[in-house]
Symmetry: C2
């Protein structure tokens, strides 16, 4: 529960999903597992929310920190829920507020998928 | 038009879109530009097609190489068109067939967006 330690992200040997998209054709199962992560970021409001949480001091953001993405609070909550369902964010209630943080393994896993082909 | 030379993908200083999602909150404009790329990969069939092209020998694939993704040829064509519209693939007709290739700058740009935060 420490905020001070970042989960190591280099060398995602145990990436939970799939090899780089450039390595070999994805199987149907791999595609079914990976597509929802991309879909979750395929909406401009969700992308802004995700970026807001991912770039926030301490790597987490309270719903109370989220105000300027141009949509109502219920819509913010809806999109945060979608990001959680896709495994991109985790949340924790502390007192009055729910705090969201990026799931670092998933971010690394998605980056791993997008590794360009070796020259 | 050479197939032997890969476009350099390291150090995407001139990434066409946006900073890493972890760097600062995205603006509305940045989110509008980046979301369609993620959305294009947010469908399992499109992800398989993209992976098939991205991993094919020579970095490109002919429609004639695509047969085993479990959907009809018109559906394949529809999804390839969506991937082109999102800027992820380019295409070129040579003789009878259309050849698809991954747009390397876009792949690198998406990977750049997913750069984890510095520890």
């Amino acid at each position: 529960m420490s905020n001070a330690e970042a989960v190591p992200l280099e060398g995602v040997a145990s990436a939970p999903c799939c090899p780089p998209l450039t390595e070999r054709p994805f199987s149907a199962e791999e595609a079914e597992r990976a597509a929802p992560m991309f879909k979750a970021l395929g909406d401009p409001v969700r992308l802004r929310l995700f970026s807001l949480v991912a770039s926030h001091a301490g790597g987490e953001a309270c719903v109370c920190d989220i105000s300027d993405v141009g949509v109502s609070q219920p819509t913010v909550s809806h999109h945060l829920k979608k990001l959680k369902e896709a495994g991109l964010l985790t949340s924790e209630r502390r007192g009055t507020w729910v705090y969201y943080r990026v799931e670092p393994a998933v971010l690394a896993s998605m980056g791993h998928l997008l590794t360009p082909a070796a020259p």
